[in-house]
Symmetry: C2
Subunit: 169 residues, 2 copies
């Protein structure tokens, strides 16, 4: 089986680690970024965030609902307030539907009842309209009783074609 | 309400975006990294990953169970195989228990039945032993029928005191 070797790159990183060891746990900007796992996104770079400034939650699509557990822990235990939800152009989530993915997984394991059972009611959260997906997620967070009301909740689109972000809501 | 302004930093980023616009959706290293949202962690830096190489999933603790939806989408639709689970020293998840956080949230909204109801059975996934949390997550992924068997699944600890990673399993 293949395996990625991090040794050399991590050794170089640790050699110039410097005073980052002194950073505290609570994010200094009291900010949570929720964005996609996409390999082309480097949120700390495209937002200009330094180490220690913000919690960064990433999942397929940058879905707010999937981030709720993390947001509660971040706000209630580690003092964050504002949330920026950032989806992006050319996202994989725009390329399928939940039912096609369920079929694909089920068919790949034909005969395994555990798989078909596990995937049957799985919510993958595919979406078909990018700006709407951002607005829906911001609304979800604003309406959720478990999310703090005193912070600003904003929604953005990151363009993988240009590196620019655009505020949606 | 406060609001973080990304305009200046993002403008600088986009100005030197270069040929990153040509990167494809599937991660070139066929790798998924699952790690914590902690503000001190910059996984692409401490692992030496370049743009386009790996999906990066981040949540409170870097919990595998919370990443399952994203892992399925990554492996089944975007061709990834290997998974590296990376928890870290001095993690917020080591500082509470699910029941103390449930009580904290409930008390903060005394009188709001929606909150107490919503938080009652919420699994926050706090853990008390760091290495064990990594081993448990790797086992969870290896045993889960929805996770591909042909990739390598490894478990690591990142040290916020030194910037070094250590393989656990």
């Amino acid at each position: 089986m293949s395996k990625v070797d991090f040794t050399s790159a991590n050794g170089q990183y640790a050699a110039t680690f410097g005073d980052r060891a002194n950073l505290g746990i609570p994010p200094s900007k009291k900010l949570i970024v929720v964005t996609c796992m996409d390999a082309r996104l480097n949120p700390s770079d495209f937002l200009g965030l330094k180490d220690g400034e913000a919690h960064v939650i990433r999942n397929a699509g940058g879905l707010a609902k999937d981030a709720l557990r993390s947001i509660i822990i971040s706000q209630r235990l580690l003092g964050t307030k504002d949330i920026a939800v950032i989806h992006h152009t050319n996202c994989g989530m725009l390329t399928f539907t939940d039912s096609t993915l369920r079929s694909k997984v089920t068919e790949a394991h034909s005969g395994d009842a555990r798989v078909s059972e596990a995937v049957k009611s799985f919510e993958f959260g595919a979406f078909s309209e990018l700006d709407k997906s951002v607005k829906d997620d911001v609304s979800y967070l604003k309406e959720n009783p478990l999310v703090l009301k005193e912070g600003n909740i904003s929604g953005w689109v990151y363009e993988v074609e240009t590196g620019k972000i655009r505020e949606v809501v």
